[in-house]
């Protein structure tokens, strides 16, 4: 193996580069500027910046170690990314209608957004749910709602991603039960539960139980799915929310991978062979506005994951080394001002994700800083992906920015920064200890505040917000309104359910779940029994809380 460049000619190159640099400086322009992550950026990159790059060691071929250029041989030539718009609101009936709309418009996979009570483990009739039912996602209280949500959608034909974390085991159980009712065995189900509790403590903040029992639930899911739901993505290890909370690209990369390694270690510690569960781990990244840095981030992520899985965790199967990932364009880059401009932002971000080799993509709708997206806005967002895929030619060539001095430099640099963070996290005693110490939370809120100050000083421009502003702007787009009837309807349906079901069976199933939680049995079969007897989500979470307790966050800003 050898480097990409003829190093004997570097001396000459260095001289010429210095000459060019002094000419640039004569223009009295700053030589280094910072990007949105606070990274210093030079005006020009040359072979000198990637002098040690070794093609086979650092890049390789698509589908070959270290997978920098992509995880599959054929990449988007063979299979386009899945167009997966995150969606859900109101009742299961409302959302079912939206799913049929999206599938009719050519969407290729479903992605369920749940409302806050479902995410936090409350039934729709719980006092804490008041005002929240169906507002920012669909309300799911029991298997009954899940049956309606997937009415007319054959689960052997679609793949479904569910953005659910603390109660992930329960929603997975509901999904398996819907499959049973449709005659689709769990072995055939394809989809994803987010199930990434570590990033909840770090960034998204929708937790229920403390870290230790949360990790136990996750390893129970890993073991259960390895045996019974082999095509299911058991965790979608998410950087998206870390970035949305204000992190830099390097932090998103580092913290997400650190979480990934923590799950791998937990799985191994629970007695599972790494090659039994690692192939079903998937990832979820943000696509922010800094085009080249984002592409480099995806490339670095694949390389780090493959290298570590192979050398540190001793994975033998190729599938264990592959970082498969979903991408969502950055919600935090959208503006409430001149919302139509968000279509353009989203398109650039989506292109970075495509060039970065994503396996699936959600494009945000232009109106998401104002409300849940309207049908029109969602259609434009989906069309943005379709134009990207079918008109721009980005799918024709795999990893076309490889070999760009700048992109390769950024890829290397991001890997180095991630490694430095891994070391810091190790020094703190691992991810959970670092969470308890508030390490990630502080890093992220500092970065968020720094960025906000840059905007206010106009060091960074946001079109329509601190520059190119339209005074007294009139909003001219339609806004989706959630009907307050949703809460009443859900509450009424829940009352009926509690009356009609076999409440003795419910009580027995819940007692059984509680016993398993207090002991060491895998929780999944117990949760499945509870689901089949129409225990509600809130009832199941309730008994688990009795055993596991609840998490309290350290307050840091």
């Amino acid at each position: 193996m050898g480097g990409l460049f003829d190093k004997e000619r570097f001396e000459e190159l260095r001289k010429k580069n210095a000459e060019w640099e002094s000419k640039f400086r004569e223009a009295c322009l700053p030589f280094e500027v910072t990007n949105r992550s606070g990274r210093a950026i030079k005006p020009l990159y040359t072979p000198l910046d990637v002098a040690d790059l070794d093609y086979e060691r650092d890049l390789g071929f698509p589908g070959e170690f270290p997978f920098t250029r992509g995880i599959y041989t054929t990449m988007h030539r063979g299979r386009l990314w899945t167009m997966r718009q995150f969606s859900g609101y109101g009742t299961a009936r409302d959302s079912n209608r939206r799913y049929h709309f999206l599938l009719d418009r050519g969407q290729t996979g479903l992605s369920v957004a749940f409302d806050m009570p479902t995410i936090m483990g409350y039934d729709s009739d719980h006092p804490r749910a008041h005002g929240e039912v169906g507002m920012c996602g669909v309300a799911i209280d029991s298997l009954k709602d899940m049956e309606i949500l997937f009415e007319g959608i054959p689960l052997d034909k679609v793949s479904t991603s569910m953005t659910i974390n603390a109660p992930a085991a329960i929603l997975l159980a509901f999904y398996i039960c819907v499959g049973e009712k449709q005659g689709v065995p769990s072995e055939m189900l394809r989809g994803t539960i987010q199930n990434d509790i570590l990033k909840e403590y770090i960034a998204q903040k929708s937790w229920i139980f403390p870290p230790e029992p949360s990790m136990r639930i996750i390893t129970d899911i890993l073991a259960f799915c390895a045996d019974h739901v082999p095509k299911w993505n058991t965790i979608s290890i998410s950087g998206y929310h870390i970035r949305e909370a204000g992190s830099t690209a390097a932090q998103e990369l580092a913290f997400t991978l650190a979480d990934g390694f923590a799950y791998v270690e937990a799985g191994i510690a629970s007695g599972l062979d790494v090659d039994r569960f690692a192939p079903r781990l998937s990832f979820f990244f943000n696509a922010h506005l800094d085009f080249f840095e984002e592409i480099a981030k995806y490339r670095a992520a694949r390389r780090i994951w493959a290298r570590k899985m192979k050398t540190k965790y001793g994975a033998k199967r190729k599938e264990s080394l592959l970082m498969r990932f979903h991408t969502q364009t950055a919600g935090c880059t959208l503006t409430a001002q001149q919302p139509e401009n968000n279509i353009v932002r989203t398109a650039y971000e989506a292109m970075a994700a495509a060039l970065g080799g994503t396996q699936s993509l959600h494009t945000n709708s232009m109106d998401e800083t104002l409300a849940l997206p309207s049908e029109k806005a969602v259609q434009i967002a989906l069309r943005t992906q379709q134009i990207l895929a079918f008109e721009t030619g980005v799918t024709q060539t795999i990893d076309p920015l490889a070999g760009s001095y700048y992109v390769e430099y950024l890829t290397n640099r991001l890997e180095e920064e991630a490694e430095a963070y891994f070391k810091k996290i190790d020094d703190l005693g691992g991810v959970i200890k670092a969470i308890e110490a508030g390490f990630f939370q502080k890093e992220i809120s500092d970065a968020a505040y720094r960025y906000q100050r840059e905007i206010e000083k106009k060091d960074k421009i946001v079109v329509g917000v601190n520059e190119f502003v339209i005074e007294d702007e009139k909003l001219e787009i339609e806004i989706l309104k959630i009907d307050p009837r949703v809460e009443k309807e859900q509450t009424r349906a829940l009352k009926r359910l509690r009356e009609e079901r076999d409440n003795d069976a419910v009580r027995r199933a819940l007692e059984d779940l509680k016993r398993a939680a207090a002991g060491n049995d895998n929780l999944m079969p117990k949760i499945l029994t509870c689901s089949r007897t129409y225990c509600t989500l809130g009832e199941m979470i309730g008994v688990l809380k009795e055993v596991f307790g609840e998490y309290k966050e350290p307050i840091i800003y």
Partner: protein, 134 residues
């Protein structure tokens, strides 16, 4: 010396989006105010209790879950019950325009949407608190 402006930054509702609340809390602190942050997932009862106990001048509510029309009126009602409705109440988050108008009628003094410079929030709070103290 006049006492520093005391602000309770509160997150009612179940959503965990605390980027905005924390950025605003930091900006108010850097502007010389005393800031108490409640943490996430607080009920109206807990927020009002904290506001009364901490004797704050201002309550800043941040919510992105869509539950503002249920939770904000409840907070205002509890403040009235406690005789604490002289406090300035401001809010931010994802709040549609129609709701903003209604919430202002109910007694939220100002609602700062996405993209608001923190300096604007600081200026507003200073101006309003000074007017109330005068």
């Amino acid at each position: 010396m006049e006492r520093k402006i005391r602000v309770l930054v509160a997150k009612p509702g179940l959503d965990g989006h605390d980027r905005g609340a924390k950025v605003v809390a930091s900006a108010l602190r850097d502007a010389g105010m005393e800031v108490i942050y409640t943490g996430l997932h607080q009920t109206p009862e807990v927020i009002v209790e904290a506001a009364v106990q901490e004797d704050v001048d201002v309550i800043g509510l941040s919510i992105l879950s869509g539950a503002h029309m249920a939770l904000f009126p409840r907070i205002l009602e509890l403040l009235r019950e406690r005789g604490a409705d002289d406090k300035l109440v401001v809010a931010g988050g994802i709040i549609p325009k129609d709701d903003i108008e209604e919430l202002k009628r109910m007694g939220i003094s100002e609602i700062f949407g996405p993209g608001t410079p923190t300096s604007q929030i600081v200026d507003y709070i200073k101006r309003e608190v000074e007017a109330r103290r005068a």
